[in-house]
Each structure stands twice: as C-alpha cells, then as structure tokens.
C-alpha cells in the first residue's frame, strides 16, 4: 500500500469521508437518518473533548454544560429575540468560548483534577438555571427552537441535515488532526507525557491547557446549538451531569488520544441504546455489561486496541 494511505492522518480521513458518503445507502428510513445525525453531533463534541482529555490530560465533567449553553444560547437568541440562526450560533459559541476562558484561566494554573471539580460545578449550575429560569428557557419542559435557516432557505428534513452534520464532523476531525500534528499539538502531548519536561523546554502549560479547554468548549457549543435547531426543541436534560459523563465515556470507550476513537466511541454509545431496546427492561444492564467488558479487555479503548490487533495480525509478524 502507498505509505501515506496507511497513515492515520490521510488514510483515516479518507475512510471517514467515505463512511459519511456511503452510509446513506444503508439508511433505509428517517429514523436511521436521525440516529446517524445524533451520532455526528455527539462525535463533534467528542472530537473536541478528546483534545482536552486524551491529549492535554485534563478531565472536564461539565461539557454538557457548554453543549447546553450553546443550545440554549442559540435557541433564546433566535426564539425570543428573533435573531437569524446564522448570527445567533456564532454569538452563542463566542459567549461559551469566553466563559470557558474565564473558568479555565484561574483553574488550569493549578495542577491535578481541579478542572474536573470546577467544570462539574459549572455544568450543574447551567442545568439548574436551564430548569428554573422558565421565562427564558421554558423550564424543565424545555422550549421550542426555530429551524436552521441559511440565507433564507430553511434546512428541513433528515437528508439535508445529514449532509450538513457529516460535513461538519469531517471538518472537526480534520481540524483536530491538524492541531495534534502541529507544534501546538506536540506541546499538548508533551504536557500529558511529562509536564515538568514540557515546561523546561519552554511550554507555558497553563496557557496551552486553557487554549485547548476553550477549543473543546467551542466544539461542544456548536454541536449543542445545531442539536437544538435540528430537533426543534431543547430540554435541560441535554445540559445535565449525566450527559457530561456520557460524553466522557464516549471518549474513553473509543480510545483516549485517538481522534477516530472519539468518533467511534460516540457512534457506539449513541447507537447501542437503540440496538439494545430488544433487551427491554434489561437494556441498561446490557449497556453497562458491554462497557465494562470493553474497558476490561480493551483498556486503551476500541480504536487503539483494534489498531494494535491489526498490527499483530499483519502477515510476516508473529503475534506477540
């Protein structure tokens, strides 16, 4: 095989684009499209979150908060103030970026898992505010969100949304792969490899961590706003702690420090509950068992473990 095809960067990117392009052949009805769109939106969040968890070695337990803020921000600006979505979405995203910066800057100067605690608190506040400020958010029942209109044309139906989300996911993965392979990305990987060694070659660890924290929050906010416009309705459940945990689990299950792992993790954890409905009341038990089994037998996560297996099975190399 041509070497560049086999590289994770180019080969993986082409495989992803091919998968997005060919998947509609297998999507026989709108319900399948809906699941595929949700996979794509979750995957965008996870690609961003993986930069933070997998590469910078920091845990956020509040990314559903950023997701929710993006969703509610865009929903309120369009629904209550009549802004066009194309203006509301960037403004909501910028506001989330600013908030992430303000939270991250003091916290990320500290070592350890302070970020996890701070983001946990932030996420809880966001979901409480979303549930109680019913004048703005509709309270626990949620609020309707106007559809996404681009230059006067309303984006309606599953197929256009599929292509929009597919293109954005491909873009998110491409940006993430570029970042990881740049001096900035090496600095991030250096931080998780040895923070002290990274600092003594001149990497300002606090600044790098804040930067990647803001990037990951922006990915979450964009996906949140799109989810709100896509489903036409938003409830506080999307901003809860449980959704934050779900997002972290997707990243860990797919494989930390693997961009494609984040996509696969999002795909598996979004589709599994749909597939497991066959187990009826044992659905959650089956889901838990699958996740435990994966983490016990593939502690590095799905994609890195399978890549290792593939390397072993290659002809000319005996299994270790």
């Amino acid at each position: 095989m041509i070497p560049w095809l086999a590289s994770a960067r180019t080969g993986g990117m082409m495989a992803l684009v091919a998968a997005i392009a060919l998947l509609p052949l297998a999507l026989s009805n709108n319900y399948f499209y809906e699941v595929a769109i949700l996979v794509g939106l979750n995957a965008i969040v996870c690609v961003g979150l993986n930069l933070l968890i997998g590469y910078a070695g920091q845990i956020s337990l509040g990314h559903a908060g950023f997701f929710g803020l993006g969703a509610y921000g865009s929903a309120i600006l369009t629904g209550r103030f009549g802004w066009p979505p194309l203006a509301a979405l960037p403004v909501a995203t910028l506001a989330v970026a600013l908030l992430a910066y303000l939270i991250g800057r003091p916290i990320l100067r500290l070592r350890g898992h302070y970020l996890a605690m701070a983001t946990l608190g932030m996420g809880v506040i966001v979901s409480i505010v979303a549930a109680t400020e019913d004048r703005w958010t509709g309270g626990p029942d949620g609020m309707p969100v106007p559809p996404l209109a681009i230059l006067g044309a309303t984006l309606a139906g599953e197929r256009p949304w599929y292509w929009l989300v597919g293109a954005l996911l491909a873009a998110a993965v491409w940006l993430s792969l570029n970042l990881i392979d740049s001096p900035t990305g090496r600095a991030l990987r250096a931080l998780s490899g040895s923070e002290v060694a990274a600092e003594v070659v001149g990497i300002d660890s606090a600044r790098q961590k804040v930067q990647v924290f803001v990037i990951s929050a922006v990915f979450a906010a964009i996906a949140g706003a799109l989810t709100a416009h896509y489903s036409g309705f938003i409830t506080p459940s999307k901003a809860t702690f449980f959704h934050s945990i779900e997002l972290v689990t997707m990243v860990v299950l797919g494989g930390m420090a693997s961009t494609f792992g984040a996509v696969v993790g999002a795909a598996v954890l979004t589709t599994l509950p749909q597939l497991l409905t066959a187990f009826k009341e044992y659905e959650m038990v089956a889901l838990g068992a699958i996740m435990m089994g994966t983490m016990i037998f593939m502690p590095k996560g799905l994609v890195p473990s399978l890549a290792l297996l593939a390397a072993w099975c290659r002809p000319g190399r005996a299994p270790a």
């Binding site: 392979d181 900035t184 003594v200 300002d204 660890s205």
Partner: protein
C-alpha cells in the same frame, strides 16, 4: 564574562536547608561541574536554576535578567535547558517528536495556522523535523530516528534528553547526572559527548556525584555538602582539598577510595 550569577541562594523544605546561602558564577563557554555526596542538594539546586522550585532566598541572574521566582518556561525562554536524572521523556511520542518538542519556542504558530495546517506551517515542520534529526545524529542516536520513545533503551533515552535540550538552542545546558545508571562504555560515550558540546562552545553545568567522570571534562568544579559550598576551583585543586576528601570519604580511616576518587 559571567553567564549565570547565583547570589546567596537558599531553599528550605520544612526547616531543612537543602540549599543554604550558596553563591557562584558560571562563565560563558565553560563546563562547570557541581559535585557532592548524595543528599548534598545538587538536584534541588538544578530545580532552583530551572524555576521548578522557587528559592526561599537569594537571586538568580542570567545574562542581564533577574530570573528569581520565574516559571520554568520563562527560564527556558531566557536560554536555560536541562536534562533529568530520573528520565522525563515523552513516552507517548516518537523519539524524533521528543526532540521536535524542544523547538517549541521557535516553531510555535498561531492557532489558526495549526488548525488549518497552512503551507507555511508545513514547510516549517519539515525544517523542524530535519533539524531534530540532525541533533539526534549529533548525540549518537542516528539509528533511532524512526523509533518510538518507549521502545528505546535507557542509555539512548539519556541522550535523547540531551538532544531535546539542545533543540531549544540553550545558552546554558544543565545536565543532571547524565551518566547515572549507565555502564562504563556508555559513560565514556557521554563524557565524549560533553567534550563535543564544550568544543562547540556550549556552556554546560554538569551535576554529578561521580568525581571521576567530572575531572576530565570540567573547567571549574563546585563541591556541595549539606547545601553549602565546600570548595570551588579547577578540578585538580578541588580533588586534593582535604575537606572535599573528608566529605566524600568520611574521616580518613573509613574510606573506600576506589569508588569515587580516581
């Protein structure tokens, strides 16, 4: 001319003075060794000289700036680089990438350029890769250019850290026991490498407890004991100093001279 001036530097850990009122200068272009028995405060001193610890008292002047109390990355920006006695290698990367990280301050780019992988960045990355490879060859790691860091033997990793430190283009290079844990043949190679660095005009601060290694390569030797300066001067002079011999070997009757003094 002095590159580094340390003035009355102290560091306490809960009442223990690991470095105690220490003053010395390092001259540009020399190899300045810091030796002393285990627990003499050598590693604490290196951590102070790279900003990992903040001093309890005293000042660190480097070139014309006062670096006292600055963060490690600011020491790096000023031109101080180091290696670690207990390896601090980025095991999640390739060997070459470890060295490329050392060029961070020179290669770093805007976030936009990183995300979009611009043509300018691609060219800079190719140059960075080439220079990192050149440094690996210089330290004798030419055979490991395509290796993952976690697949390399201990002796090679020690040299990888030196290459990474050199990649920052330091004005002063601090080596923390570069021969610790190496066999005699590997130790000789390290001594040779330090000689090569010196020939190239690098200013090297070498921390060692093995006096034999130090003697051949050093212009100046500073002997630490209990965080204080015991003696300082050219190697031969220090080696004959009665206080140094006593600190290393204990009172005259208790010594095992072969282990350190040769």
């Amino acid at each position: 001319m002095n590159l580094l001036r340390v003035e009355a530097l102290s560091r306490e850990f809960g009442g223990v003075r690991a470095v105690d009122d220490l003053s010395f200068d390092v001259t540009r272009g020399t190899v300045h060794s810091i030796i002393g028995p285990n627990g003499a405060g050598k590693t604490t001193l290196l951590n102070l000289l790279t900003g990992i610890y903040a001093p309890s008292g005293g000042r660190i002047l480097f070139e014309d700036s006062d670096l006292t109390g600055r963060a490690p990355w600011e020491f790096a920006v000023a031109g101080v680089a180091r290696t670690f006695q207990n390896l601090q290698v980025f095991f999640n990367m390739s060997a070459l990438e470890n060295v490329m990280v050392g060029r961070y301050r020179r290669e770093r780019c805007s976030l936009g350029a990183a995300l979009l992988r611009t043509a300018v960045l691609k060219r800079a990355e190719r140059a960075c890769r080439e220079e990192a490879a050149e440094l690996m060859r210089f330290v004798g790691l030419g055979a490991w250019l395509d290796a993952r860091a976690d697949a390399m033997p201990y002796g090679a990793l020690k040299r990888l850290e030196i290459a990474r430190a050199l990649a920052t283009q330091p004005r002063m290079l601090l080596l923390d026991e570069p021969a610790a844990g190496l066999n005699p043949a590997e130790t000789l190679e390290i001594v040779g490498l330090i000689g090569k660095l010196s020939e190239r005009g690098h200013t090297v601060v070498l921390v060692e407890h093995n006096m034999r290694l130090v003697m051949g390569v050093s212009d100046q030797v500073l002997v630490l004991d209990y965080g204080r300066k015991l003696a300082e001067g050219p190697g031969e002079e220090v080696r004959r100093d009665a206080r140094v011999i006593e600190a290393y070997l204990g009172p005259a009757d208790a010594g095992e001279p072969e282990t350190v003094l040769h």
